[in-house]
């Protein structure tokens, strides 16, 4: 019998590490559809889940993959799906169902170049705003961004934990290079902490499916067949879960879906600061672009430039307070990302003219040449001198 947690040190790519992270987190259902560059996740988990009592099901498309993931979650399983851009677009419909029904699960997007079929085998980070806004309507969202196979493992576990804590689908926004990059991954079972599903806080008849706790999160989640007779609907609903189609019920539900993430942002946000103490320019980045940015940081430091890096392991919710605090004391921000400027918009909004903000865009298909980032740093310093 194979072990659920692949303890020890291994040579894995980011996709495989993501699959192992899901297993370690207790995932027992994977519903997905083949797509490059995600396939190594599905292949690995189709091999591993049957060994540990889980179910792998290859669905007919990404629409059904997302829907089956939600169904499995209400059936009591920790469930995950994984895809890339085109499939992510198809998942937006039932991602919304997961958000309004507050269903814990994990969605992995191994980003490639878009739009449409775009660059199936080459890297992109251009789905970051889709991750925030892609499904219709208002809601809060959580999106994590690993920069290495080790982090693909760790952040996939964290995604499952956050999904259970805050009762929503959590996105792992990785990319083709991190997905296909092989590195050492060290797995210590004793260091893994898991959040399990909260059972209902009251017996059937007294329990309210969507009564929020002090963190604005529903009190507990009955499993199909527990006798709670839940009604789960994608319609606007009251605390019983019953559909009520009016403005008052909408006003009670939808702001809470947004606010439960905003109010708990301090607990969710996870950023890494590098050489920030004396930094005059901050490289703000995430995912694979943080790896190229680190090379740029070292090159700039060798030139005597005072540069630091703020790496977002959680992209959504956005670390507004950290950036507001930095905007008061640094000359500017440089934002490399493999898209034509998405997260930089959020930085500009928050910095609000208090410091320079410079995008380092890349249309995709390749990672940044670190020299382009160094040049951007020099330009920011030149502008303010």
């Amino acid at each position: 019998m194979a072990e659920r947690i692949l303890a020890g040190t291994h040579f894995l790519n980011g996709d495989e590490a993501c699959a192992e992270g899901a297993l370690a987190a207790g995932c027992s259902l994977f519903a997905g559809y083949p797509i490059t560059p995600q396939s190594e996740i599905a292949e690995r988990i189709s091999y591993r889940l049957p060994q540990v009592g889980g179910v792998f099901i290859q669905m007919e498309d990404e629409i059904s993959s997302m829907a089956a993931t939600l169904g499995g979650a209400w059936g009591g399983m920790k469930a995950m799906t994984a895809t890339s851009g085109p499939g992510f677009s198809l998942m937006m419909e039932n991602l919304g169902l997961g958000l309004i029904t507050e269903t814990p699960c994990v969605v992995v997007n191994v980003q490639r170049g878009g739009p449409s079929t775009g660059l199936p085998t080459l890297v992109g980070q251009a789905d970051m705003m889709q991750a925030r806004w892609g499904s219709h309507g208002d809601y809060g969202i959580i999106a994590l961004s690993p920069s290495s196979p080790q982090e693909s493992f760790e952040l996939t576990i964290r995604a499952f934990n956050l999904a259970e804590t805050y009762r929503l689908p959590v996105l792992v926004m990785t990319d083709e290079v991190v997905g296909h990059m092989f590195e050492r991954v060290t797995i210590d079972p004793d260091a893994i902490e898991l959040v399990e599903r909260r059972p209902p806080n009251a017996p059937p008849g007294e329990f309210l499916l969507y009564q929020p706790n002090e963190n604005l999160v529903p009190q507990g989640m009955p499993t199909f067949g527990d006798g709670y007779r839940v009604h789960v609907t994608g319609l606007t609903h009251d605390e019983r879960g019953y559909p009520v189609i009016d403005a008052a019920t909408q006003a009670a539900l939808v702001p809470r879906l947004k606010e439960k993430i905003a109010r708990n942002a301090a607990d969710i946000i996870d950023v890494e600061e590098t050489e920030m103490d004396d930094a005059e320019v901050v490289i703000l980045t995430y995912g694979i672009s943080a790896r190229t940015s680190f090379g740029a940081l070292q090159a700039a430091r060798e030139k005597g430039l005072k540069v630091g890096m703020l790496r977002l392991r959680t992209v959504w919710p956005f670390p507004e307070q950290t950036i507001v605090r930095l905007a008061d004391r640094v000359a500017g921000f440089v934002v490399p990302e493999i898209n034509l400027g998405q997260i930089v918009l959020e930085v500009e909004r928050i910095v609000c003219g208090q410091a320079r903000v410079r995008s380092v865009p890349h249309a995709g298909g390749d990672i940044h040449d670190p020299q382009t980032i160094v040049t951007a740093i020099e330009e920011v310093l030149h502008d303010v001198s």
Partner: protein, 313 residues
């Protein structure tokens, strides 16, 4: 032309009393939203009688719906009920069914939801033989959105988006279900309440992907635009035209206005369910440990083995 009849006046108003299957209904959600003369109330009622006959309760069965008039059925049933997105009920139910294999999962939805936007999920769930029952109320149009033509609208029938009459070939639902691998396929009209209830009992008890089509009036939209009279008139048509042909070849079961309505149990066969095949071909052969979730109750088995690739007789 069909013989046109008008409904007779209701002879007496029945005194208000409890629905005999009230235990299965969310009474705080009633009255329902359906129009007078619609077949959905009958379909819902038959389902509750079927559950009662099987002595199934909230710990045994859950209902999944999509969007549309039929999609609202889940919300009236006092069971675990999941009202999902348009067309995705079967996909959602697939996750629910593999997570809880000892429980019964019923998808209750309409013809547009299941066979237009949801058609792909239907054919693949049937192919995989996921252990679920799909009950389709076929009213030949999109009622909720105002009477547009859909995947079952007969040629020549009118809808709000078929003002000159529909010219697209409709699906024959039992033939589609049988072709895709459903192990039980039946059709009844909403007039055949006792036989419909029996078909629901059979379909729910049979392991694997089972399908019952419920031909139903939609007097507000489809019936009105196609001059079929009110709900009772449509039921009279069912009485006049229905022909019971158990075991009929589903290819012969096209629904053509003016022709016989072929009803009955068309397919009843056995082949391994998705999870049976998974356990037999993977778990047992590889000597993996059977998961705990399989051990909670009397796990449903079709009696079939997965060694053969073809559906059994």
């Amino acid at each position: 032309m069909s013989r046109r009849t008008k409904a007779l006046p209701v002879p007496e108003i029945l005194p208000a009393q409890a629905h005999p299957m009230q235990k299965y209904l969310r009474m705080d959600r009633l009255p329902h939203i359906w129009c007078s003369g619609c077949g959905l109330g009958t379909a819902l009622s038959c389902f509750t009688f079927a559950l009662d006959e099987l002595d199934l309760g909230a710990e045994d069965v859950g209902v999944v719906s999509g969007i549309g008039c039929t999609g609202r059925i889940a919300g009236y049933l006092n069971l675990d009920s999941y009202h999902t997105t348009h067309g995705r009920a079967i996909a959602f139910a697939t996750g629910l069914a593999v997570a809880q294999p000892d429980k019964k999962v019923v998808v209750f939805s309409g013809d547009g939801d299941l066979f237009a936007i949801g058609g792909n999920h239907f054919i693949h769930a049937a192919r995989r033989n996921i252990d679920m029952t799909v009950l389709c109320v076929n009213n030949f149009n999109y009622g909720m959105t105002g009477g547009q033509y859909g995947p079952t609208t007969p040629i020549g029938s009118r809808g709000t988006t078929a003002p000159y009459g529909n010219y697209e070939n409709p699906f024959n639902l039992p033939y589609l279900a049988a072709s895709c691998g459903a192990v039980y396929v039946a059709r009844w009209t909403s007039l055949d309440s006792r036989r419909l209830k029996e078909a629901m009992v059979e379909a729910i008890m049979k392991p694997g992907f089972t399908f019952v089509e419920i031909v139903s009036p939609c007097p507000t939209n489809y019936g009105r635009r196609n001059r079929l009279g009110d709900g009772l008139d449509e039921l009279r048509t069912y009485a006049e035209r229905s022909v019971i042909r158990h075991g009929a070849d589903p290819r012969d079961a096209d629904l053509i206005p003016g022709n016989d309505i072929i009803v009955g149990r068309f397919i009843d066969r056995t082949r391994p369910t998705f999870l049976e095949a998974y356990e037999q071909r993977i778990i047992d052969k590889q000597h993996f440990v059977r998961p705990q979730r399989m051990g909670k109750g009397p796990h449903r088995t079709s009696g079939a083995t997965s060694t053969g690739g073809k559906a059994g007789a």
